[in-house]
């Protein structure tokens, strides 16, 4: 039998390989890279992500004990260079499909500071997730009540993920966000900019000095004018338009380490403009 199987193998491997296989494979790899911001495209000499928990497994979100337990299982790498780790899991139920990646910072050398950031991210995200679950339950109820059938109901997708904007030995800049398929209105994003030298959260004031609002406002106003001249008409004018950044204005550091100010949708422009971003130059 084994001898014959060797002959059968010849049939098996003699099968023609389609030419498009290679093209398809390359494209799939590329798509997959683009899709996943967590494949680090940055010059991340000092950053490595560590997998928190292996396997896709199911955690009841409402049981905090389960959560606490899984957090304990996160293997923290000894290597000082590893700044990022994340908890990841998937949960699928009749109501909701969850794909959760909650990041955490490690190895900053200041455990209290780390703990503070990680607790904050964790609390915000778990709160959003339970809200999303509640909404899903309500939505399903309404769906059935208005004549929808159990079979037709599609679970709502909830995604928590993060985006790393900048990482080098001095600064770490990332955002954590939550989206769900029910409506884009439930999009939440939080930005974190950390000075790794001082272990402090960076503020616009700490970067641009006391006069930060004036410096930034002027550059944003100029850039809006420029964009309007380039036929980008989405920006509101007059009273509804841009006046000043807020005290706790959202920003991140881009790959070059420059500050990027970001506004929410509808904040200073119509929906079609999306979430406007402005790169701010350091003025000496």
């Amino acid at each position: 039998m084994e001898k014959k199987l060797k002959e059968v193998k010849k049939l098996y491997i003699n099968q023609e390989i389609p030419e498009e296989l290679k093209i398809m494979v390359n494209k799939t790899i590329k798509d997959s890279k683009d899709r996943k911001t967590r494949s680090f495209r940055y010059k991340a000499a000092s950053v490595a992500a560590v997998v928190a928990i292996s396997g896709s497994f199911i955690v009841g979100l409402n049981t905090n004990e389960a959560f606490a337990k899984t957090i304990d299982e996160i293997p923290i790498l000894k290597n000082i260079a590893d700044v990022f780790t994340f908890k990841d899991y998937e949960m699928h139920s009749e109501l909701i499909n969850e794909d959760i990646n909650i990041p955490a910072v490690v190895g900053l050398g200041d455990e209290k500071f780390e703990q503070k950031i990680n607790d904050e991210i964790y609390e915000k995200m778990t709160a959003h997730i339970s809200e999303a679950e509640q909404r899903a339950a309500e939505y399903k109820e309404a769906y059935i009540a208005t004549g929808g059938t159990e079979e037709d109901y599609r679970p709502i997708d909830v995604v928590v993920d993060y985006k790393l904007y900048h990482a080098d030995e001095n600064y770490l800049s990332f955002a954590v966000y939550q989206t769900e398929s029910l409506a884009s209105a439930y999009f939440e994003i939080y930005y974190y900019n950390i000075n790794l030298k001082t272990n402090e959260t960076m503020t616009l004031e700490s970067i641009f000095g006391k006069d930060y609002k004036n410096i930034i406002n002027k550059q944003i106003a100029d850039q809006i004018q420029e964009r309007i001249q380039n036929q980008d008409c989405g920006y509101f004018k007059g009273d509804a338009g841009f006046k000043s950044i807020a005290d706790n204005q959202n920003f991140y550091l881009n790959e070059d380490g420059k500050v990027v100010i970001i506004f929410d949708k509808y904040e200073i422009a119509s929906g079609g403009t999306g979430r406007p971003e402005f790169v701010i130059e350091q003025v000496k």
């Binding site: 039998m1 084994e2 014959k4 199987l5 060797k6 002959e7 059968v8 193998k9 010849k10 049939l11 098996y12 491997i13 003699n14 099968q15 023609e16 390989i17 389609p18 498009e20 296989l21 290679k22 398809m24 494979v25 390359n26 799939t28 790899i29 798509d31 997959s32 890279k33 899709r35 996943k36 967590r38 494949s39 680090f40 991340a44 490595a48 992500a49 560590v50 997998v51 292996s54 396997g55 896709s56 990841d88």
Partner: protein
């Protein structure tokens, strides 16, 4: 996941893509379906790249995804897959040609569980412990499943006379 692991997985996929196709084809015997399965497996692998802890296991890890994707494809599309033609034999000097084709067909008739083990062992030349990792079961179970597969093949062939 480190960039290192991710890149190694990509590298592995690029060098082994033909083997993936052949295995997928072995299950579905249909070119488009096999391409679909390979694509799906690559997506799954790369989006869960962070779950591969040790890059040394990339082969058995990827094959597990590939095997599972193939089997669930078969399950979902049971009735609609049309088999392509059996390829021409490479060695026409072989005297037992008919028997070889019979065996090739017999493998196709095996339950996917047994088919997997035969293909991995005899076509992919995997060792028992590697197969055990792919199937996520222990070595003894794998061994007995392999013998059972050979037994089943025999009875399929003999049954047809």
């Amino acid at each position: 996941m480190s960039t290192y692991n991710y890149n190694k997985i990509v590298e592995y996929i690029e060098t082994s893509q033909n083997d993936f196709y052949l295995l997928a084809y072995g299950y579905v015997k249909n070119r488009e379906a096999a391409l679909d399965i390979v694509q799906d497996s690559i997506y799954k692998a790369l989006s869960s790249a962070n779950k591969l802890r040790n890059i040394e296991y990339v082969k058995t890890w990827f094959y597990r995804i590939l095997v599972n994707t193939s089997i669930s494809y078969l399950r979902k599309n049971k009735r609609i897959i049309l088999s392509d033609k059996v390829p021409e034999m490479v060695s026409p000097e072989n005297k037992n040609l008919a028997e070889i084709y019979d065996l090739y067909d017999a493998i196709d008739k095996l339950d996917p569980k047994f088919k997997t083990i035969v293909m991995l062992r005899y076509f992919e030349d995997m060792k028992i412990d590697e197969i055990a990792k792919v199937l996520d079961c222990n070595i003894n179970t794998t061994k007995s499943r392999l013998y059972a597969s050979l037994g089943k093949l025999k009875s399929i062939i003999e049954g047809e006379g």
